[in-house]
Symmetry: C2
Subunit: 307 residues, 2 copies
């Protein structure tokens, strides 16, 4: 099976997503943007041995590389439309490819987007890059830079689960519910769109709540106080880890792919999804964590490449 | 230097390219598509040790990863607008990054496009993926599928140089003019746009003329006869290699990033660029190579991943 057969067999699926004039199989895809919309463009890479352990479930890798990009789309309040895939892997391992493609197409279907192009190459380990184009009404995209002193800081879902799940896997004691949050993150795409006109700033949580909130605050030129008692923790995290580790995973663990946003008005109804107010934007430029009123020093252990 | 400082230092450049509402530094870029245009989306990856030798000049890698994508844009007849970059590398090697960024920005400037977003990660070797969005008037994109029996087959520039240049490098005898064609390919973006309404089908030459022309013919459901005496060879290729190797590089060598297209009418004036008619589209589905009227069997040695 060469590259062309590989693409035909695993990635060239018929799609009923609107606006795909020419999909996979030419030098490029031809697409119909929606008139009067601005476009949002995101790209994110997962590297074997860096973002997931060697031998990790291929279907989850396929799902996850789409979801982490959709999470960026969600943080901009955009509606995702099309994606491209650049996939490097050591060999055309058919069971692996079939599983990877199944996960990728499952995520694409769940969020209503089409795979319109890509490139497959050889490399010593798996490197999967997905790029997504989304759309927003002109001038409405959610940015990191609009937080104002007095705004409330919100977080969707629960935080720390993915990092705890991965930690359990690496130590040979995976907790299924936690690991599943690492393997199949929920991109908050619909909720992100509902925040337009309401959130003053937004970011998705890929490197850990503390580090990512810090980026939002820095971009907005403000600070914050967060109440660690308000951090949204899952039952599984609370059950399996002592309080200090819960907080460490919740603040410093990455890969949650929840949204963190600021707003001065009431946020939209989150439905069945959990939504938590965790603190308030301040006029300083510090990010202060409090527990029972006392300041708790936090060492930002959010993952940063090259640090 | 962590990931954020790396991006700020090397990739977050001011741009005067139109339509960039929000560039690098948020969860995604916000862009203004041109009203009434269709979009063309391409993505391509270069892997160290696969697409270029370990230790290859970083500035050339940066230039080349943009140029190979622009070549796909050119083959669609599109005008390139914005690009994103996913870059994996073993360490934040500052001289390497500075050179890579210099080459990347040089290509972006030469072709008038903006880097609007990206992702930098660690990996055991360099993996550089660029994705470009271009634009075309509705319904005018050049495809691989429109070649008709009787059309003339054209090739821009010269073919075989890049493969010969790389071959020389790998054997310790690089020929500067040939290697430069590998390191700094010319994407035929302007000429590609001038082919709209004239070319019946087009493809860019990344895997070798024989293999890429075969893809065009297959997509069009036709065959071709090409005259090997008409293959456009550079003086440097002719000077340094015997005739049989010249033809092998010209037909089977990849990385030329020239355009191959078919047309029933006269092609636009190529200016200083060489343009050669190399054969004719036939109603069969075979690709036949002739030299002095005799059929020459050709073993397609165009590079294919996973073969």
């Amino acid at each position: 099976m060469d590259e062309f057969e590989l693409i035909r067999r695993y990635f060239d699926c018929a799609t009923d997503v609107d606006g795909v004039v020419v999909g996979i199989g030419d030098d490029g895809a031809v697409l119909e943007p929606t008139a009067g919309k601005q476009q949002v463009n995101v790209i994110d890479t997962l590297v074997e041995g860096v973002h997931f352990p060697k031998g990790f479930n291929a279907s989850d890798i396929g799902y996850r590389v789409v979801a982490v990009n959709l999470s960026d789309i969600a943080a901009m309040g955009a509606a995702p439309r099309w994606m491209t895939l650049a996939l490097s892997l050591p060999a055309a391992d058919e069971p692996w490819l079939e599983a990877f493609a199944e996960g990728l197409h499952a995520a694409a279907k769940e969020y209503g987007i089409a795979l319109v192009g890509g490139d497959t190459t050889t490399a010593p380990q798996v490197v999967a890059t997905v790029q997504i184009n989304g759309e927003v009404d002109v001038g409405t995209a959610l940015l990191r830079s609009g937080a104002k002193p007095g705004d409330t800081i919100y977080v969707t879902g629960t935080v720390g689960d993915a990092a705890a799940g991965l930690d359990g896997l690496l130590h040979g004691e995976p907790v299924k519910e936690l690991l599943n949050r690492f393997a199949r993150p929920s991109a908050r795409v619909t909720y992100g769109q509902s925040l337009i006109g309401i959130a003053s700033a937004a970011i998705d949580l890929s490197d850990g709540l503390y580090g990512d909130l810090h980026k939002l605050l820095f971009a907005s030129g403000v600070g914050a106080e967060i109440d660690m008692a308000c951090l949204p923790l899952s039952d599984a995290l609370v059950e399996h880890y002592p309080p200090e580790r819960q907080r460490k995973f919740a603040l410093g663990g990455g890969d949650d792919y929840e949204l963190c946003f600021t707003a001065s008005m009431s946020p939209p109804d989150p439905g069945v999804m959990r939504l938590s107010a965790i603190g308030r934007v301040t006029a300083s430029t510090d990010l202060v964590c409090r527990l029972d009123g006392e300041i708790v020093p936090f060492d930002d252990s959010g993952y940063r490449h090259f640090r």
